[in-house]
Symmetry: C2
Subunit: 202 residues, 2 copies
Amino acid sequence: MTEAEIAALVEEIAGQLFVPIEASGRHVHMTKEQAMALFGHPLTPKRPLSQPGQFLAQERVTVIGPKGELANVAVLGPERPEGQAEISLTDGKVLGIAPPIRQSGDVAGSPGAVLAGPLGRVKLPQGVIAAQRHIHLSPKDAEKFGVRDKQVVKLRTFSGRPLIFEDVLVRVREDFAAAVHLDYDEANACGFQPGDLGRIVL
Amino acid sequence: MTEAEIAALVEEIAGQLFVPIEASGRHVHMTKEQAMALFGHPLTPKRPLSQPGQFLAQERVTVIGPKGELANVAVLGPERPEGQAEISLTDGKVLGIAPPIRQSGDVAGSPGAVLAGPLGRVKLPQGVIAAQRHIHLSPKDAEKFGVRDKQVVKLRTFSGRPLIFEDVLVRVREDFAAAVHLDYDEANACGFQPGDLGRIVL
């Protein structure tokens, strides 16, 4: 085998065993109406994210809570039916908000906050959550790893400060690219560096 | 058995199985000379810490790095032979310093920072570290848990977002009270609340 063939084989084997880890910084999702109120126009894509169709917007917002604010927060598109701010527990201390640990989109009864943009302010009556750590997989990936949608698994990180996350939610959808999503508290706790991998432990 | 007897028994059994978890916020240790330069007097105890003889000082400092600063940082006493700032990786991002993961006191070759107090500034040529997660145990506790000084173990947290920390260092000393010490990144990653317990997994 040539070196290139060996490298390709190693990559293929790694893909059978590991899932790439990504650290999700704090970010906001919003409705088209909220984007219009804050910026005067819909969200403008800046660059695509690992999940197909999702993008980082050029626009940024300030998230304001009862105790403090977070400036220059990323906005992800496309627009959604309801606004949402995904923050870490560390961010929650800054804002004076204790976010519940939830799946993205599961915002019923969660605390609210105020979003500020260049054209004004918008009140989120609810939607401040800390995203439950999760793994995006396609149905083919899920089959490969022997897991199913909504299954809760453990994930061992191969990182500077290795640990085994429990309560990691598997999310399977045709258009998902294989990726573990951690927040920054979790990423720092395991000493994450870009390129680090995780392994699903059942 | 009376309710009180049952409660006492449960507490005794829990003490055989679990170690209390404590979250260590960012803090600074300093020499007597540094305390004199910053405050004009040695450190003044405000309240004792869980480890015998250690105290939180009334004095506070600002830690200054190349990119930012952290105000109102706790100072722990008594004074030590060398200054040291124990911060989280999140704090490191604010300061613009990438702290190595080290045991307290192991500062050779680590980055430096500036400390500012009411009377002036002091340069730490080195000593900015992120404390390696660790467990304080007395020799009696260590025997009970079947571990020895400097052993590296796993620790399962019983907390809001349970996980299993790997690379947890056991430190045994006659005067240590049983306690797991995590930094705030780690505490938030496991959803720590005061009173949460951990279990050593070998």
